[in-house]
Amino acid sequence: MLKRGMVAALAVSIALGGCVQTRQFADVQFSPPTGDYKLLVLRPDVTVGSLTTGGMVEPRADWTAQARERIIEALRAQQAARGGNLTIVEHRNQLPGVSEQELADIERLNFAVDQSIVDHKYLGDTLPTKRRVGLDWTLGADAVRLGQKTGYDYALFLHAEDEVATGGRIALSVLGIAGCFIGFCAPSSGQQQLDYASLVDLRTGQVVWFNVVTAGSQVAGIKFGDLRTPQGAAQMVDRLLGRMKRGRAVREQQRRGS
């Protein structure tokens, strides 16, 4: 009886332990880009590593290259379906008319702003001045200047990291759960996927939309979309960018209008 109860509890905990979470924020005036818009994707940052028996993540060049290609394919397909015109910049010297230094500055500024968004919107350190105002961050005049120089409407920053468990890690995980039956429960953490993206309106400099997706399991070997496969990459791009929500003001206006 006791054993059966434990198995049930275990099954529930495994089901709960692995999940996909996504949480997005948008500028109050934001409506997702549609129609004929020009989107600049700045150096998508993708890493796929192997999760070793001991729990370290070893970067893998071949897997990363593969995943990066799949993600870019999926992104192109998705944006084309919405009518967007997409340019992907791989290196800082590839944007005509913009110096490497300028692009580096924009990227660094965006990184700092993204960190601030994560701190104050995701990690619980809420700011009284940013309550109920949607996503209220900006890259300022630099981003506007970039837009004027290049003619792009939006800039997208994208980060994705994924892990693939090694055989050793899977075996250890299975043993840890099997151990529960003899009184030694030690589930080791499985692989985790973390993706985030921010969309900057290059006409105003505002960060208009931000999303974080985490996917992971408590049991190594169970995956929530492998970025190296076309399906996994498409799933990730869909989770991250598929359902962009409109800003609060826009939603209220539509509600009143309907």
Partner: protein
């Protein structure tokens, strides 16, 4: 009954663990690695062929792009070319593959990245008294690459964490099966694993020292300068700690690097082995000073603003061992002025007065000398000093104020 015997084992275990830790503590000064035993593990144009190393290299491409585009970078081609020349001289077989970047960070540090690019902090240029000393530090960093330390440490960590995880799981399962609690052993094993990682890291540093000093001597520099660097650093850390009423950290089991004392002693022994008898060495001091000369005021300025008067004073006095000049005297005054303890104002005034007696006194020395003369009521001399300041720095941000003081 078994509970009792386990209790005993647990106690003996802790005693044993304590003893092991104590022996490690004293054993931090590991056996010296002889330069003669250090041979480069890679040839020219090395590219990784193993999967784990390829992964590490790919990660680093982005890091290098970030470093190369950093706004902390000092890009003066005269200095960067000079650094490149030095790493080319002491870089062994990989001499042509290295990249070297200089960052404006006022700390004593330099680092090598897995793909063969080095980052040198500007604080290093301030502390080195000659080209030979600078070459010694760069040779140490190059040594990390030549001995493939990054991938070797990574593999060491991976192997040890694998072994620990499997052993901990086996202990847990075995213990649960047999009905005994082995958690204490597992914790001790965890501490052991962590300590062994630190110890491995110290071993890599000692290897890089030995490889570096060998290449440095081969390039014609006096290997004894390596040990002098550590002597200077120990002096600086002592002075800094004394000012803060603390004691200098002397190395421990959780350190990634061997203690400065151990490195100084080991490299002195290395140098005695490597030095060619009867040879006179040129330490390249003139060349060094001529190259970094125009940057030195910035380096000193960054240092005195760190609010670490103990270290700053020591550094200035160390540089002055090669002769005082207007620049050093001026920054000596700045250390006192910014420290602002009773009597420091007088010390600062004396330093500024000494600074302006040298032909290379910076404009700001004249300014502060003028201010102190004004305070003493020697307004005629003060005005002369201010006039001198304005003539040297007509666009000074405080020029209007100074002109008003002249009246």
């Amino acid at each position: 009954m078994c509970g009792r015997c386990l209790e005993l084992t647990r106690r003996s275990l802790l005693v044993g663990g304590g003893a092991a830790a104590a022996s490690l503590q004293t054993g931090v000064a590991d056996a010296r690695i002889r330069p003669a035993d250090m041979t480069p593990l890679i040839g020219p144009g090395f590219k990784p062929t193993d999967r784990d190393e390829q992964g590490l290299w790919r990660e680093m491409d982005r890091v290098e792009e970030e470093v190369a585009g950093s706004n902390l970078l000092i890009t003066d081609p005269k200095i960067t070319g000079y650094l490149k020349g030095i790493i080319g001289a002491v870089g062994g077989p990989a001499a042509k593959d290295f990249r070297i970047y200089l960052m404006r960070i006022p700390e004593f540090n330099a680092m090598m990245f897995p793909t063969g690019f080095a980052v040198v902090f500007s604080g290093l240029l301030l502390r080195m008294r000659s080209e030979a000393q600078l070459a010694g530090v760069i040779a140490h960093e190059a040594g990390h690459f030549l001995r493939r330390h990054m991938i070797r440490s990574w593999r060491d960590q991976r192997r040890k964490s694998d072994i620990f995880s499997v052993a901990a799981m086996a202990a847990g399962l075995g213990g649960a099966g047999a009905g005994v609690w082995l958690g204490d052993y597992v914790q001790l094993a965890q501490l052991g694993t962590i300590l062994s990682l630190f110890s491995y890291s110290r071993e890599m540093e000692a290897e890089a020292d030995a490889m570096g000093i060998r290449n440095m001597a081969a390039a014609g520099y006096d290997p004894m300068e390596m040990s002098n660097i550590w002597q200077q650093l120990i002096g600086e850390e002592d002075a800094s700690a004394r000012y803060r009423r603390k004691r200098r950290h002397k190395g421990g089991i959780f350190d990634t690097h061997p203690s400065s004392d151990a490195r100084m002693a080991d490299m002195k022994a290395d140098a005695l082995e490597l030095r060619a008898p009867g040879k006179t060495y040129d330490n390249g001091r003139q060349r060094y000073l001529a190259t970094i000369g125009p940057t030195r005021p910035t380096l000193l300025d960054d240092q005195v603003k760190l609010n670490d008067p103990g270290a700053s004073q020591y550094l200035i006095e160390t540089l002055a061992l090669d002769g005082w000049n207007g620049l050093l005297r001026y920054y000596e005054g700045e250390v006192w002025r910014l420290r602002n303890r009773p009597g420091d104002d007088v010390r600062a005034e004396q330093s500024y007065a000494a600074a302006v007696a040298y032909p290379d006194a910076p404009a700001d020395a004249w300014r502060w000398h003028g201010v102190s003369l004004m305070k003493q009521g020697r307004s005629g001399e003060a005005k002369a000093a201010f006039t001198r300041y304005l003539s040297m720095k007509p666009d000074a941000p405080d020029a209007a104020w100074v002109r008003q003081m002249i009246g």
